[in-house]
């Protein structure tokens, strides 16, 4: 078991603007498992995700399983062009990720089909977030980095997202998630909690 980790974080420390954000964190992410990162506002959850994806410089080790060469990400900034329409947004990323199927079923799934010709700037907050999940689905990455995936979503959508993550896990993927809401949805055995203070 210990050999087939997706992600192995050992003694990770990070400094931003000459301030130490966290010190010597260690945890592993195994397939079919999810790691919850817990901590107060400003404790460094987002920073941790950025360290794992090698955007910030850190000290310590982040080992990624061979063959995994990208991460899926959903965060506060959605990565949407305001002037793009939903359709052209999805079409662009579909091509980038080489997603073969049609994305209309995804839109259906998120209840966004009506908005296919609407520019992103006229979507509501939750709808934008759903769009960035649509991109995540098309990407088919093994490891998902989710920065407060369900904040600002309604109950139904929350459930959809949690089911989505569950499915992703059941297919052998893993996820690193932060959230201020209780996520009691997942099997306790599959959950690792990491506390930052």
């Amino acid at each position: 078991m210990s050999k087939e980790y997706l992600l192995k974080v050992k003694n990770l420390s990070c400094e931003r603007n000459y301030k130490i954000i966290f010190n010597k964190l260690s945890f592993n992410l195994y397939p079919r498992n999810i790691v919850f990162i817990d901590g107060n506002n400003g404790s460094g959850k987002t920073t941790l995700l950025l360290c794992v994806s090698n955007i910030l410089t850190y000290s310590g080790e982040v080992l990624i399983k061979k063959g995994i060469d990208n991460f899926g990400y959903v965060g506060h900034r959605n990565g949407l062009y305001d002037t793009q329409t939903v359709d052209s947004f999805l079409y662009f990323w579909k091509n980038i990720y080489n997603y073969k199927k049609s994305y209309h079923s995804i839109l259906e799934y998120f209840n966004l089909s009506r908005f296919i010709d609407v520019p992103v700037s006229s979507l509501s907050f939750g709808q934008k977030k759903k769009l960035s999940f649509a991109r995540l689905i098309m990407m088919k990455s093994k490891v998902w980095l989710l920065d407060e995936p369900i904040s600002g979503l309604d109950k139904k959508t929350k459930k959809i997202i949690l089911k989505l993550i569950q499915e992703h896990l059941s297919l052998g993927g893993g996820a690193l998630a932060t959230s201020h809401e209780r996520l009691s949805y997942f099997d306790k055995k599959k959950v690792t909690r990491v506390k930052i203070d």
Binding site: R16, Y18, K19
Partner: protein, 242 residues
């Protein structure tokens, strides 16, 4: 080697090491510049062509050399910072900028004052003068970018990379007189074929150059010391209170 380097790239170590150097440089530089000025203004002969105006040379040439040298110093410090991330080199580079601006401005000013009697104009747009003016702007740009990222380490890298990109200008300045026929004098001292200038002019010139160099080192060390001490204060202020 790198380990040794690491030891003195540590700001604290650097300060203890630099203190005696700073004190010596302070005294020596003032002495050398004074002697150099006496030689330059009174003891050296006037040029047979340019008469007394040649004395501008003893300011102009060392100042021009210094501005090129300081930029080279900034360039290499920035490279060291970008590659090995030693913060000390960033501080060295940043503190050199203001001094560089002053020397560059001096060289520009004396050069154009000198140009009026010798070339008949204050300014021409030839390769040497233009590239040197560009150097001045790059210095100012470095100064500006330092203030444009408040309290963020992002600015450090912006500074480093700008210094890196600006480095292309140095060889252009240096070799502009050789590559194009410009109004400006080609190199007569720092060149491959050996020195071609009389020793009566060479001595004060070198005295001034060395004096300027020491002066630069002195001012740099003082400002680095101030910077490090200020940084410590900020560091303690920002330390998370447990």
């Amino acid at each position: 080697m790198l380990k040794y380097f690491h030891k003195y790239a540590n700001p604290g170590k650097f300060l203890t090491l630099a203190l005696p150097v700073r004190k010596i440089m302070g005294i020596v530089s003032i002495g050398v510049v004074t002697v150099g000025l006496i030689f330059a203004l009174f003891l050296s002969p006037p040029d047979y062509q340019q008469k007394e105006t040649v004395r501008i040379m003893y300011i102009h040439v060392p100042a021009a050399w210094m501005s090129l040298m300081i930029y080279a110093f900034i360039f290499f410090s920035s490279v060291v910072f970008l590659v090995w991330k030693f913060p000390l080199f960033l501080i060295l580079a940043k503190e050199s900028v203001t001094i560089g601006v002053i020397f560059t401005f001096t060289a520009l000013l004396t050069g154009s004052l000198w140009g009026k009697p010798t070339w008949g104009t204050y300014w021409v747009w030839d390769a040497r003068l233009t590239s040197f003016l560009v150097l001045f702007f790059i210095y100012l740009g470095l100064k500006l970018i330092m203030d444009s990222f408040s309290y963020s380490s992002k600015g450090d890298y912006a500074f480093g990379y700008l210094a890196l990109i600006g480095g292309f200008n140095l060889p252009i300045i240096k070799f502009s007189v050789d590559w194009w026929n410009t109004l400006h004098q080609p190199a007569s001292i720092l060149r491959t074929g050996g020195i071609s200038i009389s020793s009566e002019m060479l001595i004060p010139l070198f005295l001034m150059a060395i004096g300027f160099l020491f002066l630069f080192i002195y001012i740099l060390l003082v400002s680095v010391e101030i910077n490090l001490k200020k940084r410590k204060i900020i560091y303690y202020k920002n330390k998370p209170d447990n």
